[in-house]
């Protein structure tokens, strides 16, 4: 009974044998792959495009306005160090946003964790690794508690984290003491942002990153080809490897250039915070894309009911994701504390959270859940850092700084909402 009425859509043009999946094989040419990418963007899936455009446009803009200072190695190093805490916080938030939840307390949680480690160093005289472990554990506990309230009891994450946003500020205040500032003098933690990888080691690390990336990409392509699976054309894979190589080399070159203001001293090398960001980027990307946990996070964000019926423990996923997010907040808090060499009752407050959420959303992570990648945090974090850094160089009034940064977040959220509508309305 199938023979007499073959549906029109299964008849292949050119009389080829109708084997199906022609899209998996037809992408052999680079041109077809590029057309596919354009279609994807038209369909509302903008991916990294807005963030990359933002980085380019803002760099050109600030270079035009401040040609003497913006693109100097000193300022670019500053900018990257400035971006590190934002990126680290945003990396954790990406997972929360993937679920369709929000963590408004991530910023102040980073403050609490930094305060814990500062007091462990100052009051208890603990060694650096105890202080770091203390901060990470504090973050984990805060996150697991948040996740339990959201996942197990069922309070909306917005409300739980809004309450914690206020409550945790009180905790920081209690730990640090009214009006106090706890300086961080411990060399290892301070060194995160104030010590630099030796130039040769820096180059070796850069080469290692490029080689490992290239090996992983090429190996995956080889396996896909050998087994006749969906794969990208080799040209696209090679272009992606080349792009990563160029970016890595350029950034390493800038950071390894002598950036001292006086000729008498030498100041060069990659601040240790940068390799920390890169390592976490790789780890979390693997977690999100290549493990069961990551797959289930996407599934819960896309359709929680489908995930539940597939046997996924949605509550467990939620609790773990909030735990991960707040642990990343702890890392972010440590880097921020190292940068300022101190922790104050206001640490992690103010615009910290706004910057991190902005970073994730500008990078392309959806506020509606189910769509986003860890690298979004890096790209969006750079956009935010460029804005903050550039406006600082222009010495704009504080009020304008707030308005502009808030505006950028709104703009990113608008793009996200429109992209979602467009994707929903796309022809099938």
């Amino acid at each position: 009974m199938t023979s007499n009425t073959v549906p029109a859509s299964t008849v292949e043009p050119g009389g080829a044998a109708p084997s199906g999946f022609e899209g998996d094989k037809g992408a052999d040419s680079v041109g077809a792959a590029i057309r596919g990418y354009v279609d994807k963007i038209r369909g509302g899936d903008l991916g990294a495009l807005p963030a990359v455009l933002g980085i380019v446009v803002l760099t050109v803009l600030f270079y035009a306005l401040r040609p003497d200072t913006f693109l100097t190695p000193l300022n670019l190093t500053n900018l990257l160090v400035q971006s590190a805490p934002i990126i680290l916080l945003a990396m954790g938030l990406v997972f929360v946003l993937l679920l369709g939840d929000i963590d408004l307390s991530a910023g102040v949680a980073s403050g609490v964790c930094a305060a814990v480690s500062a007091q462990l160093l100052a009051e208890a005289g603990a060694s650096w690794w105890v202080a770091i472990l203390g901060a990470l554990l504090t973050g984990l506990v805060i996150g697991l508690a948040t996740g339990t309230l959201v996942g197990l009891i069922g309070i909306p994450s917005f409300v739980v984290t809004l309450a914690l946003f206020l409550g945790l500020q009180g905790v920081t205040l209690r730990i640090i003491g009214q009006g106090g500032t706890v300086p961080i003098r411990e060399p290892v933690i301070r060194g995160l942002t104030n010590e630099y990888v030796p130039v040769t080691v820096g180059w070796i690390l850069a080469a290692a990153v490029v080689l490992v990336y290239a090996a992983l990409q090429l190996n995956r392509w080889r396996v896909q080809r050998a087994r006749g699976l969906a794969s990208q054309p080799l040209g696209i894979v090679a272009a992606r490897i080349a792009l990563i190589a160029v970016v890595t080399v350029v950034v390493t070159a800038i950071l390894n250039a002598d950036r001292a203001l006086s000729a008498a001293v030498e100041l060069k090398g990659i601040p240790y915070a940068i390799p920390v960001v890169v390592v976490l980027l790789l780890l979390l990307t693997f977690l999100a894309g290549r493990t069961t946990f990551g797959r289930h996070v996407y599934a819960v964000g896309g359709n929680a009911e489908a995930a539940r019926r597939a046997g996924i423990n949605v509550t467990r996923i939620r609790i773990l994701v909030f735990g991960l997010s707040s642990t990343m907040a702890a890392v972010s808090g440590l880097v921020a504390a190292a940068r300022l060499s101190s922790v104050t009752p206001g640490s992690g407050g103010g615009n910290t959270l706004l910057y991190a959420v902005g970073a994730a959303v500008i990078g392309g992570t959806s506020l509606f859940g189910g769509r986003g990648r860890v690298r979004d945090a890096v790209l969006g974090g750079l956009v935010i850092a460029i804005i903050a850094n550039g406006l600082g160089l222009l010495q704009v009034a504080a009020y304008l700084n707030f308005i502009i940064t808030g505006g950028v977040l709104l703009l990113a959220a608008t793009v996200d909402a429109l992209a979602r509508r467009r994707a929903a309305a796309a022809p099938r």
Binding site: M1, T2, L229, T292, R295, Y298
Partner: protein
Amino acid sequence: MSVPQPQDGTPILQLRGVNKSFGAIQVLHGVDLKVYPGQVTALVGDNGAGKSTLIKSIAGIHPIDGGEVLFEGAPVTIAGPRDSAALGIEVVYQDLALADNLDVVQNMFLGRERKRGFLLDEASMEQAARDTLAKLSVRTLKSVRQLVSSLSGGQRQTVAIAKAVLWESKVVILDEPTAALGVAQTRQVLDLVRRLADTGHAVVFISHNMVDVFEVSDRIAALYLGRMAADVPISSLDRTRVVELITTGRSGDLGIEPAAVAEVGI
């Protein structure tokens, strides 16, 4: 190819006198049902006749209160969804339960991903998904790496059915798979339902559409107010008699005894 098989084989799934109540309301009254491998059994009945309750009982979502379930001739207890899945019974619900933001392969393996060490074994999952779709002669998908959000209703139904088949399932229950589809897409899904049976699966096909039912089914089971009015080869009925069975519970010598109908309160 839809010639009914001889009916003397052992049904893979058999219900005997199944009762199910929700509180004081008895929804299923001593329901008997036989489902044979390689055949499509259409489960028909008016709204509220108990079709959904019946399949949810088989799926273990609403465990039965009384009666017997035999699987491959042996009595079994289905106390939860895991029990039915372990037996090889898969249900495709009307809302499909697919995650829009994942691709076809990811959806088909959702919750049962294959791993190599810590990492997902994407290559082997893609291969298996492809093989399953090919076995069902699905030719309408452009790519198995397409996001489900970009699929049409018929393609989604196809993916949901293929997902059920992937697990070496023996019984596949489809809850109104053609309800929201257009003509061409209904065609695709009906072809797929037929192929499921031809590849040896026992298929239970719920539908309100008599044209669809008569086109793909080998047997027909009609529920009337929680009782099985008839469970017979489709060749012994015509459309008028099926409609009679659905609306009155009786047709000629087939159906529920008038006394029993009276007892239900009609």
